[in-house]
Symmetry: C2
DNA sequence: ACCTTAACGCGACTCGCGTTTCATTACCAT
DNA sequence: ATGGTAATGAAACGCGAGTCGCGTTAAGGT
């Protein structure tokens, strides 16, 4: 029981039944203040120096907290990044619903390109993706994030299928993944800038592919 | 002439004019043996333990070389990986030329999926991509590698354009990049396995997109 | 107001990566 | 073969990330 207290910050209290018993954890008050301060400091460090120089000690100093506290609760910088990601998935984005899959896909793509125009978000994702290569925790956080986000965005595709705009056996999530792939290729492999022009091309390519039946179940 | 021999290991004295004068470097003999041994040891370590546990000291031990030697010539593990990449771009792959862009794209995609089925190649690329997030040397190595490989593969597309199979203003390299993007999305973001089925879908999507004119110059 | 104890702060400590120094080796030109 | 000198080997060293133990603080139930 007590051994799992650390799990609080990582997976939050979602699974532990919330009962106000003696001998329980104390998520309110100081603990919560520190959590907020540390995450804010992490974001600030990402903006100021980027992922490359992100250090637990620097984050702790910036947050005005002992470094042992950060190590205890988040373990390392990857723990900080993954929690920022879990934080992000909770904030919901506006999803397009124009009635046309063409404009919906374009708006989704433009949303992606503008999202990564923010240096903080860009550093955050690049950092988590880089960490995920050798850290299963980061990989899990990524999977969870995109499972949520992609299924939300896939609703546009789902509606288009119902309207008869797209083949009936289209895999909606697969379309969204195909839409996003070019962005990650550019950010990770070729390190090219990601802008609206890229978004337009990605949307056009995804649209053509799904219309041709390239993204079907099976 | 001799000046480039050292550049083969790192950039080092690339700026010194090459003169076969006394007081030059010694790229043959022991130096070359060590280079081969260290790179082979790096590959072996990648296969045995993966990128996560790749360490200069372990590579040096495995190669039977002093670690200071490896540090001097390659600086860190990223230096080792980037040189493996530069080594790889020199070995040329068979390029498809079936006379049909559809089968060419499919064969190219299958080649990619089979390439990354090899744990060593997979670890190598994931490692370099992860390092490139915060290390410009790795980013440069990646750019050079794909600039070479993609332009080679783009010849298939170029031929298809000339045959009239594809729009005249098609950007050949862009088609190849679109073909590759889904693989990196899966390997880096969702950490899904990459197999022949993925390749088939990637080829179909790229084909539909380019036929629809989604990959034109400007 | 009081008590229990989870959570934090602080400092000392460990450990390993990477650096530096200097002696030694062995290329390569003569 | 022989000398000059890159290049390597060996070992000590510095530094900083991450750990540990313990005293202190404050949350939250009574």
């Amino acid at each position: 029981m007590l051994g799992e207290l650390k799990a609080l910050t990582q997976l939050e209290f979602s699974l532990t039944s919330d009962r106000p018993q003696p001998g329980m954890l104390r998520p309110r008050g100081r603990t919560e203040r520190i959590r907020t301060a540390v995450l804010a400091a992490t974001r600030a460090e990402l903006q100021a120096h980027g992922y490359a120089e992100l250090t637990v000690e620097r984050v702790a100093d910036a947050a005005g907290v002992a470094k042992s506290t950060v190590y205890r609760r988040w373990r390392d910088t990857t723990g900080l990044l993954t929690e920022l990601l879990r934080e992000l998935v909770r904030t919901d984005l506006p999803l397009p619903d124009s009635g046309s899959i063409e404009t919906d896909l374009r708006e989704l793509a433009l949303g992606i390109s503008r999202f990564y125009a923010d240096p903080v978000q860009r550093s955050l994702f690049l950092g988590v993706i880089a960490a995920a290569v050798h850290d299963p925790r980061a990989a899990d956080a990524l999977r969870e994030f995109y499972a949520a986000r992609n299924s939300q965005a896939a609703e546009s595709v789902q509606r288009a299928v119902k309207r008869g705009e797209l083949p009936a056996d289209t895999d909606p999530v697969e379309v969204i993944r195909a839409l996003g792939a070019p962005f990650y290729y550019r950010m990770l492999v070729t390190h090219e800038p990601v802008n609206d022009a890229v978004a337009e091309k990605a949307a056009a390519a995804a649209l053509a592919a799904v219309r041709a039946g390239a993204h079907r179940t099976r």
